[in-house]
């Protein structure tokens, strides 16, 4: 994760190392949770039906574990609607060359329909691999609830294929 190493073909904006974004808010809706779960083939009613979720001890339908990606990507798009760059735009992602390297979720609490969440992202750094054929960006995001605190942290590496 040495930001000072330079790759002449690199596309990531390495000057963004250390950037921590301002919080962006996201309103969790039951329909979005259900739609997301459905596309994963997940039929557990705690993701689709409020009464079933409540019977299982939850206040409302529960987001599946990887729903954090929805919070992340939709807040990025909300910024773009306001004419502001998303984190992915700020670090210089080129979708023609972009691959996903690694993804990790650490859970501290569940996300439920009705939650008003906020997300921040830190640009941890950049890295060259395979003799410069690949460049990696390392990011960490935190999803928080105003009363319940940190719910999920996301650690991610994104990859540009340069060769």
């Amino acid at each position: 994760m040495d930001a000072t190493s330079s790759n002449p073909n690199g596309l990531f904006n390495r000057s963004t190392k250390g950037l921590i974004t301002d919080p962006v808010e996201f309103q969790v809706e039951a329909g979005r949770i259900s739609f997301f779960a459905e596309t994963l083939g997940e039929r557990n009613p705690i993701h689709h039906d409020r009464a079933a979720a409540q019977a299982a001890g939850h206040p409302d339908v529960v987001a599946p574990p990887t729903f954090a990606i929805v919070v992340d990507l939709e807040t990025g798009r909300a910024l773009e609607r306001q004419g502001k760059p998303s984190v992915l735009a700020r670090i210089g992602c080129d979708y023609r060359r972009l691959l996903h390297g690694e993804e990790r979720y650490d859970y501290h609490g569940a996300i439920h329909a009705g939650d008003r969440l906020s997300i921040t992202t830190e640009v941890l750094g950049f890295e060259d691999k395979k003799g410069g054929a690949l460049e990696l960006a390392h990011l960490r995001s935190e999803i928080r609830h105003p009363e319940r605190g940190l719910l999920v942290s996301i650690t991610r590496s994104l990859v540009h294929r340069l060769a």
């Binding site: 979005r32 739609f35 997301f36 459905e38 596309t39 994963l40 083939g41 997940e42 557990n44 705690i46 529960v62 599946p64 574990p65 990887t66 990606i69 929805v70 992340d72 990507l73 939709e74 990025g76 798009r77 979708y95 023609r96 060359r97 972009l98 691959l99 996903h100 390297g101 690694e102 993804e103 990790r104 979720y105 650490d106 859970y107 569940a110 650690t155």
Partner: protein, 141 residues
């Protein structure tokens, strides 16, 4: 929900056979997840990027991978899930996700299980590939 108090390394989790990843599934996942990267749904874009075809969102497979854990342990017990993306998933691939208990461990006096996870695909021509290799940590009290 499974009784995890007696789970041991080597125990296999019930696999999740997702089936064929169609273009329609990729379109729906793009909308549901908010990942609108055109390389997953727009063949014109993929070809301009030098690819033969679109390929599946890695996060679609990770979502199915997490189902292996939640279906076995219950979501409330899941502490973390992580994976490396080893290879792209071509459209039309058949996806199966699996897991196996790797280790029992004690964290702060609470029993936990570390679970090794894998996503594997079979293509129409019979070729197979491991697309994700991951792990999860679950509470086993």
């Amino acid at each position: 929900m499974t009784d995890l108090t007696t789970a041991q390394p080597g125990d296999r989790l019930p696999p999740v056979a997702f089936g064929r990843i169609t273009r329609q599934i990729l379109a729906l996942y793009a909308g549901a997840s908010g990942d609108h990267n055109p390389v997953h749904v727009d063949l014109d874009f993929a070809r301009k990027a030098g690819l033969d075809d679109v390929f599946a969102h890695g996060m679609l497979s990770m979502g199915v991978l997490a189902r292996v854990v939640t279906g076995w342990a219950g979501q409330d017990r899941v502490v973390s899930v992580s994976n490396r993306f080893m290879a792209i998933t071509p459209v039309g691939a058949n996806l199966t996700c699996s897991g196996e208990v790797a280790e029992r461990l004690d964290i702060g006096g609470v029993p936990h299980l570390r679970v090794a996870l894998a996503a594997d695909v079979t293509l129409d021509d019979g070729r197979t590939a491991r697309t994700l290799a991951g792990e999860a940590l679950v509470r086993a009290d």
